[in-house]
């Protein structure tokens, strides 16, 4: 059957030479190479559930009276966006589950991208010739964050509305042009009536198209450049050791795909996420509290909470305190990440192409730097829920904020030195282990001129 189809295609398109080569393409077997695939499959799940939701969602700001089965809101005036999300949640067959699968997939998508990126960073897979894919991957992360934020802002509930208000306020902190930029995105001072339509367009068309396009380029480049691999027997800079795409790797990947879908369906089916009926419709006179964004935006929220209350006045202009943590910090952080391949080359003066990966321990300074960056993001992410933590462990939220401010400075430094030292130790241990290899011997020349064979004694 498949063979027939292949023949039919080959007769018309001449595909067989490509497919036969493609089926034999080698894929490295190391588990960490599949992190990116988890992201891919979460994205597939997002597309599938997103199409369902997009057909039922009504992106209108026009208010209407709610007449659904959720008693506490009956007769309340809500936006079309909120009403349709309520309809999806309470009156559509499996609607709530699909919505929840969509949301859980988004959380998983971002988590998988970050983990995949960490693997690329710590093994040096971004080095020449793969700088372009590093940039594309980083852009995909930003697009995913944007898609997540616009997505959870769509239902027009009190929690996400609070988040949108914060976003609008941050935009306005940009010196001189802030108010214009806010108006450009929101269509007027917050709360502007066009915002849901713009969010909808961005979330269901603009960002997904960009993500799909960039994933295609990402994978085409990967295909063309071939995989990196860890050092090992018979692995060189000019070959790839692994299993062929068909049937070995394709079936493995298919299994991973099913596992990913299973995980998001279980989460969506059993774990309530974003209960907008409890948050209630957005009302500009109210604010949700305790309010947290989804985890992948937490680092920004946390930075705002940790930022010092220092406003700068220049030329009769006020630059609000939120400008530094809200605009400068993410700009600096992502610029640094975008430029990392060149920063590293500038430091190492290494201009060669690399297809063999580094073990993280073998490049202590890079691993330590990555750990410090992660530590900083971890602190800001955790700080985003300082009010919740303060309640749970019953200490003043002000104290906790001070602690996180201190940790924001101390933890990255501490992480840098600790990880650096750890890498050195792991290196030494690896050498030690290699030295114990019975195949390695030392030849010591005796005063008489003869040679004695002996086990190596010390390692430096």
């Amino acid at each position: 059957m498949i063979a027939k189809l292949m023949l039919w295609l080959d007769d018309r398109l001449g595909t067989s030479s490509f497919t036969s080569r493609a089926f034999r393409k080698a894929f490295p077997d190391h588990w960490s190479f599949m992190l990116g695939e988890i992201a891919l499959y979460s994205f597939a799940s997002l597309l599938a559930t997103g199409i369902f939701l997009g057909l039922l969602f009504d992106a209108s700001d026009t208010h209407q009276i709610y007449h659904g089965p959720y008693a506490p809101l009956v007769g309340v005036s809500v936006s079309g966006a909120y009403a349709s999300t309520m309809r999806i949640s309470f009156e559509t067959q499996a609607g709530l589950m699909i919505r929840q699968i969509h949301h859980w997939s988004a959380l998983l998508f971002c988590a998988a991208i970050v983990t995949h990126m960490a693997r690329i960073f710590f093994t040096g897979a971004f080095r020449k010739p793969r700088e372009i894919n590093w940039i594309i991957g980083l852009t995909l992360l930003l697009l995913a964050l944007g898609a997540g934020f616009t997505g959870y802002s769509l239902p027009d509930d009190l929690l996400s509305g609070t988040g949108l208000r914060i976003a609008a306020s941050i935009a306005m902190t940009i010196p001189f042009v802030g108010v214009w930029i806010e108006s450009l995105f929101f269509g007027g001072p917050f709360p502007a009536p066009q915002i849901t339509g713009r969010l909808f367009f961005t979330h269901v068309f603009l960002l997904p198209s960009l993500i799909v396009g960039l994933i295609a380029v990402h994978m085409a480049i990967l295909w063309h450049q071939k995989h990196t691999q860890f050092r090992g027997p018979e692995r060189t800079e000019s070959n790839v050791v692994g299993s062929p795409l068909w049937p070995n790797y394709a079936l493995k990947s298919l299994g991973l795909g099913f596992a990913s879908f299973a995980v998001v369906v279980i989460l969506g089916g059993f774990f309530q996420i974003n209960p907008i009926w409890q948050y209630g419709p957005y009302d500009p006179s109210l604010v949700a509290s305790p309010a947290q964004p989804d985890w992948y935006v937490g680092w920004l929220d946390g930075a705002l909470r940790l930022g010092l209350p220092i406003a700068v006045h220049i030329f009769g202009h006020t630059i609000p305190a939120a400008f530094l943590p809200g605009i400068v910090f993410p700009l600096v952080a992502f610029t640094l990440l975008y430029l990392w391949p060149w920063i590293e080359r500038w430091i190492t003066k290494d201009d060669r192409a690399h297809n063999l990966l580094d073990m993280p321990r073998d490049v202590p300074w890079r691993t330590a730097t990555g750990a410090a960056i992660l530590a900083f993001f971890l602190v800001t992410t955790l700080a985003a829920s300082d009010d919740v933590q303060a309640r749970l462990i019953a200490i003043p939220v002000e104290t906790l904020t001070r602690v996180y401010q201190g940790l924001g400075i101390a933890l990255p430094i501490l992480a840098w030195f600790a990880v650096f030292q750890l890498c050195r130790e792991l290196q030494a241990r690896a050498i030690q282990r290699a030295m114990k290899d019975p195949r390695i011997v030392e030849y010591v020349r005796s005063p008489e001129g003869g040679f004695d064979e002996q086990q190596p004694t010390s390692v430096t």
Binding site: D29, H30, W31, S32, M34, L35, E37, I38, A71, P72, L73, V74, G75, V76, F90, L96, Q100, W104, L107, L108, A111, A112, L158, L159, F230, K252, G255, L256, A259, V264, L267, G269, F271, Q272, I273, N274, P275, Q278, Y279, G280, S285, L286, V287, A288, S289, P290, Q292, P293, D294, W295, Y296, G298, S385, V388, A390, R391, A394, P396, V397, E398
Partner: protein, 509 residues
């Protein structure tokens, strides 16, 4: 000697009962007196010379003596509530120092249930497995000390289980069940250890002539068996009694809530119910006036013992606690019913919801005393259960006034300066209404001019919906922690599970 001591304690107890009955409306019950007398009698009998002599010669008899002392006499004595009597019987001049001694930091620490449990179990194991037991058999002085230690730790141990009398450690019924349950394996294992021992543990018994005419080893096995079986049985009975007490307590609480709810007709229109309330409330109050006087007197006694050291005499306050003048019935009822008062550390620590330390009658008496001494302030609100129409209004009021601190799901939040807005799940309907009307701690106060009675009903109804989790159609609500818990679950269970999968299907090299 032991008889004299027993008689003396009975006489003191009887004097206390007489003094109490002269001073208080409710006399000490006969059962209570009987329990105490029975407990003291058991102590006197098992420690009497003939039994003691028997115990000296037979391990089994000795074990029976110890079991009677620690598992029968101790709970019986405590059922007589001697400590409560010590507070209520003597004049305040004497009772106050006793109350102060009970609040002493060292006493408070030493009487913590966890320590009492450890002391009881620890004494049981160490005396049997160390040289102490043999030493007690050989030297009379050590023996008397050992019996005193047994009785003292047993009294400490049983005090939280019996749960009668003043305490600084509120101990819920579930905790009591666990507390007893955890002791069962201790007696069973120690009993089994003694039973299974292949040699005589205490050489003293080898020398003694066994009164039952059996060998010392057989006697020891019988002793082990009796500890194992009798110990477990008594603990099992204690378990049943605690469970029964729990059930009784719950139904009493339910009955009290019912009477409050019945005061207003259910499901009636707002206007009608307000009219009825307006007609009946004054007449109901006058009917109560007669019984009020005794209640006020009882409340004053309680106040002077348990409250006045911080809140001052005549509710006037002190440097460490605010005056209670004109605070109203709702305030007193709320703080006492939610166990926030009496506070152990009244200073800067925010009091949290705990099991109440007073019985319902005692709380009513204190409410009566405070309102009689200083009238005014919010009355205990009566909450009616209206139809779903009101739920909408309740949600709107909650969103506007409550959720900014207590969270959209009533999960609580932190409000700065070390204060937290507690989760609303533990509070009863009346307690929620009382908090709204009185504004405990940093919470604002919503009087009738801000929130009408129907608004109050509505918002309390909505809080009740949040409490009963009627709003979670999406599955587990992850402790209502919102995106914090969601992110955690996505990383740990979502990505964690999938990383597990790729570790399985991928290689490590």
């Amino acid at each position: 000697m032991i008889f004299v001591l027993g008689l003396l304690s009975l006489v003191v107890y009887a004097l206390g009962v007489r003094a109490h009955d002269a001073r208080h409306r409710r006399p000490i019950s006969r059962w209570q007196i009987a329990f105490f007398a029975a407990g003291v009698t058991v102590v006197a009998v098992v420690l009497s010379p003939p039994i003691d002599a028997l115990a000296d010669a037979s391990f089994t008899a000795h074990m029976a003596q110890h079991l009677a002392l620690t598992m029968l006499a101790a709970p019986l004595i405590l059922l007589g509530a001697p400590l409560r009597l010590a507070l209520t019987a003597p004049p305040p001049r004497i009772a106050r120092p006793i109350a102060r001694a009970l609040r002493n930091r060292l006493v408070v620490i030493l009487t913590a249930p966890v320590l009492a449990w450890l002391a009881f179990v620890g004494v049981m194991w160490t005396t049997h497995l160390s040289g102490l037991y043999e030493a007690a058999l050989e030297h009379e002085a050590v023996h008397i000390g050992e019996h005193a230690l047994f009785l003292a730790t047993a009294l400490l141990f049983w005090y939280p289980i019996v749960g009668i009398g003043p305490t600084t450690h509120p101990f819920g019924h579930f905790a009591r069940l666990l507390y007893v349950l955890l002791v069962m394996p201790q007696t069973a294992f120690l009993g089994l250890a003694i039973y299974q021992s292949r040699h005589v543990l205490y050489p003293h018994y080898l020398a003694a002539r066994n009164p039952f005419g059996i060998s010392a080893l057989a006697d020891q096995q019988a002793a082990g068996e009796s500890m194992w079986i009798a110990g477990s049985l008594i603990m099992f009975v204690a378990l049943l009694l605690v469970a029964a007490d729990w059930a009784r307590n719950d139904s009493r609480l339910a009955a009290r809530i019912d009477t409050r709810l019945e005061a207003v007709p259910l499901g009636g229109s707002l206007l009608l119910s307000l009219a009825i309330a307006a007609i009946f409330a004054p007449s109901a109050a006058s009917a109560q006036a007669a019984s009020n006087a005794t209640q006020v007197r009882e409340g004053r006694n309680l106040y002077e013992l348990r409250c006045s050291s911080c809140h001052g005499i005549h509710l006037r306050g002190s440097p460490i606690a605010p005056p209670l003048l004109g605070v109203g019935a709702a305030t007193v009822d709320f703080w006492l019913e939610t166990g926030r008062m009496p506070a152990m550390v009244p200073a800067n620590v925010q009091a949290m919801h705990e099991p109440p330390q007073f019985s319902l009658e005692e709380i009513n008496a204190l409410v009566a005393y405070v309102t009689a001494t200083s009238p005014g302030g919010p009355v205990i609100p009566i909450v009616a259960n209206f139809g779903p129409g009101n739920l909408v209004r309740g949600r709107a009021i909650y969103a506007a006034n409550c959720q900014a601190c207590h969270g959209a799901m009533g999960q609580g939040g932190s409000v700065g300066y070390g204060y937290i807005a507690p989760p609303l799940y533990a509070a009863s309907v009346t307690q929620v209404a009382e908090a709204i009307r009185t504004g405990p701690g940093p919470m604002p106060r919503f009087g009738p001019s801000v929130l009408s009675q129907s608004d109050l009903d509505a918002v309390v109804h909505y809080v009740n919906v949040l409490q009963t989790q009627q709003a979670d159609p999406g599955g587990f609500n992850l402790a209502n922690l919102g995106p914090v818990a969601e992110g955690f679950v996505a990383w740990v269970f979502g990505l964690g599970a999938l990383v597990g999968v790729i570790r399985l299907i991928g290689s490590n090299a």
